[in-house]
Amino acid sequence: MSDEQQVRAQVRAWLEANWDKNATLVGWRNQLADSGWGVPHWPEQWYGRGLPVALNTAIEEEFAAVGAVGVAKVGIRMLAAATLLEHGSDDHKKRFLRRILTGEDNWCQLFSEPGSGSDLAGATTRADFDGERWVVNGQKVWTTSAHHAEWGLVLARTDWDLPKHQGLSFFVIDMHQAGIEVQPLRQMNGHASFNQVFFTDATIAPENLLGKPGDGWKIAMTTLAHERRGADALRRWGRDSGLAGPIYDEERAEIATVIEPYKWYPQRAGRVDLAMPRASDTGRIQDPALRQDLARLLMLSQAAEWTAQRARAAQEQGKPQGPEGSLGKLASSRVARAASLVHTGISGADSMLSGADSPLDGVIAEILVSVPATSIAGGTDEIQRNIISERVLGMEREPRMDGGPFRDVPKNAGRSR
């Protein structure tokens, strides 16, 4: 039997013995955490089974086959978990990981600021130690999930005299406190999944520092690498199981509240899955020019998927996790734009409409106005190209103007609107 068949048989047997659709959502997910089947690619001592990532798909298929609900694993929570697994102390892992998997805690990533987005290391939100705890002041922006997060990953400056990459530290911050104000921001697609976050003497307990003071940049790179790699997983966001039973109702309620602001996420990836069926249903597939664009899109999307598989296969052979996530992220921007073009071609004049007047009850319009996020969120295409050229191809770095003590580095004037 191959590894895959063996693992499939194991999951199937475990599910047969344990899956109970009358369990509570949190109760069931705790059971998953204990069994290691919720996140089989995590280490055995931390809720996983130490299995290769490549087997996840097979395992998820076995779950789907019996309608078993999985752990809460979409969104920023998984970036937090990956960061904690790599850089957190045992105490951090004990305190945070389980509740990430059960869905009890939501997380957000407090990196971007009005003055520093691509140039994350230019963060000016400050954390000062007052002898007992860290005191935080400043502003973050574009913070996805901040409005319902229990915890945040925050990158803050703790030393202004060191060069900019060295003066940053990485904390876990309790989002439910008086010193934090969260204001939702409305996006061009009408949704509000990101926010601006103001810190006024917000506090962080000393044990919530990850690594040492000054490790902030290194740790943030871990978070970002995982974010880029996850770029192609966006398509599966918040799909309803369509099944009946109390645990599914609970899951639906979770989707409705927690995932509601993100229900446009699959659309931002372009919804390639809709292209061929829509082209056939509308009859536009007869148009030779559209056929060309459609083929271009489907081929690109297929090749992008294979490229991600190749990168994973290489990793499993022991090659280090490298900047290949940037290639995947760049590919997903291409796919999203190509999809937008094809959907416009298929919908014709209907592309001018939105909401209930737009095809598929607004989904098509939502694709057209959500795709631009793909090439910005998680690091812009330009930044990915910098990373690829410098770290994969080994090309020259650009001359920089931001050396020396951070205090003296040129910065954006004031706060942007």
């Binding site: 083929a295 190749r310 290639l327 590919a331 994969v392 191809l393 080994g394």
Partner: protein, 374 residues
Amino acid sequence: MQFILTDEQTQFRDAVQRFLRDKSPTTEVRRLMETEEGFDRQVWEQMCGDLGLAGIHIPEAYGGLGFGMVELGIVMEEMGQALYCSPYFASAVLAANVILLGADERHRELLLPGIAAGTRIATLAVTEPDGRWDEGGITLTARPAADGFTLDGTKKFVLDGCIANTVIVAARLAAGGIALLLVDGDAEGLTRRSLNTLDDTRKLAELNFSGVQATLLGPPTEASAALARGGDLSTIALANEMVGGAQALLDSAVDYAQMRMQFGRLIGSFQSIKHKCAEMLLDVELAKSAAYYAAEAAAEDDPELPALASLSKALASEVYMATAAECIQIHGGIGFTWDQDTHLWFKRAKSSEVFLGDANFHRERYIQCLEATA
């Protein structure tokens, strides 16, 4: 799908690479492209004899090594990277594939051992002056004669058609349908003209048939399927060759950008150059993924072979050509000279872009495949 080479396959790739690096430097490519034959017989004999590459995917029963499409893909990719000049693609790929699929046992035994050994150079003649790559373009006629058939008509864009001693001809039967026929390179009534090619590393010929004697290669009932499937396999092999060439161009562009100074800095430190290279890498990686996937699928007899062949070729066509154009751009003026090597790959990119069907053709074919399975 694995996307992982075994240790043996990796060693095999290294061996092929070493051989080609040694035997096919661009000085040799330049020497050979000026000759009429277009290849070096001694190197060819070594390649077929010592390494057995011409029989890599031919079963052992017919004198080959008995490996599959993945190994053939490896050979093709390395040959594309090195721009190796020889009748390999005509004989070991185009002709051998069709013989394996469409010839009767007697002809397989007659032809394949020589092809594998490199002593017989075969080619496949399908395309005619109208340049169509599919069966519909075949008008050359085969009429029954005393012992076999008589062929009349013209084939064009025949790869290595002037040096081949065996020509497999796709012809239309008077009774309807097509047949694959075997013709000797020096048969009476066959006139061969070497075409002036844009890409001198790949020789093309026009073949005129006037009452040429031919024998059936195999049963005409199987000709159409053999031609189609053989064409798909060869298209996938070509896509693998093309991604090897594209990689060579990307490497050359990055190396030059890391060496050339302007405005007091390396041009490789300018973002417009770096970003171009990043896009080229993404292009090449996407095209490689498709070519590798298709080769593995072919080795495993995937029913979606036609769609995968078209997918891999459409991407390879676009990517190879785009990479070639950008590579010249990054080299600046020197990139436009005869002495600098980039144009050798640029021209191969152009000829490969259209050979066996261009990207538009394969995109259309891909959609047709999807419609047929929907």
